[in-house]
Symmetry: C2
Subunit: 193 residues, 2 copies
């Protein structure tokens, strides 16, 4: 097993605690302790808690995108079925007791009094990447307004995170899968020449 750099160890510790407890409930002291470091060592790598919050979300960006892509690619079937599969896989993930919704959305909710915070911008950029990727998938499938349908899928995706966090009922992700299937399936296609 490769040894993590001190910086990576801090970010992994921040990810565990911030995701589990929330960014306001966790102190920099707690992150340092979780990483097995002094607070002073932590501040050598991160100037502020805000920097640490940003690094926590940056850490979750690519793995999340990769998971969506993998679920989409692994599913055999129509584009509607492949997009529905993303929600079906999320339902499985969300059934674990450690699942606590979307770190990006939860952070934006916790920072509602600080619009423009770097962590909110990072979360917005993350969601835009997913939206762009969905647009590309829908465009390749001949959907006439791929941006419009991609936005509808994003609403269902972020809706799933919010609703399942509240009710702790992963059945809502299967409802979202059905809705996404309907929206992609009924979307007008361009007629190929």
């Amino acid at each position: 097993m490769e040894t993590l750099s001190t910086r990576d160890r801090i970010v992994a510790a921040a990810n565990r605690l911030f995701y589990r407890e929330g960014i306001r409930a966790v102190s920099v002291d707690a992150v340092a302790e979780e990483a097995g470091l002094t607070k002073r060592s932590l501040y050598y790598h991160f100037r502020s808690k805000d920097d640490l919050i940003e690094a926590y979300l940056a850490y979750r960006d690519q793995p999340n995108l990769d998971a969506y892509r993998k679920w989409y690619d692994d599913k055999q079937g129509s584009t509607a079925e492949k997009i529905a599969a993303i929600f079906e896989n999320l339902a499985k993930m969300a059934s674990h007791s450690k699942w606590k919704g979307c770190g990006f959305l939860r952070t934006s909710a916790e920072l509602a009094n600080l619009p423009g915070h770097p962590a909110i911008l990072l979360g917005a950029a993350h969601k835009k990447k997913i939206e762009q990727w969905l647009t590309d998938c829908l465009e390749a499938d001949g959907v006439q307004s791929p941006e419009a349908i991609a936005r509808q899928i994003i609403l269902l995706l972020d809706g799933s995170f919010a609703v399942v966090m509240l009710h702790r009922d992963t059945g809502y992700m299967l409802s979202a899968a059905q809705a996404a299937h309907t929206l992609v399936d009924t979307a007008p296609r361009t007629v190929s020449a």
Copy 2:
């Protein structure tokens, strides 16, 4: 103008501050000051900050339900158009700088480390009331699976709150209106005898 009771004054102050700043960013001291009271007077009416958070959400419950009903009732047209109108009205509300998303969802995100907190249960009950009301509207319109479609609308509704908070782009609520319209419009109806 009617004079508010001390309790009502506290709840109105809590609503202003908690909605604007978030529940963890605001102290009980700050709520007491906003209400023009001592902390001691506040604690005479509310045993704890948790009680105050619960009262804040209870205060928002009925007015929210009434707004959705009014938007639905005021819109002339099909059930699909009436439900889409809810999202169109939300888009107008969300364009105000003071709009900070859904107080219920934001609170559940802030309390992610405290599942079962009374405020989360109150938020869940609030969302279930909207879901039940939508189910009734869809059933009256002859939709075959009104519960399933109502859940899909709820996902779009809560998705709108989350996404618009992140991007500050109310256009997503109009995307949600279109998606809701499609889902209600394409839902199989029972054939009347």
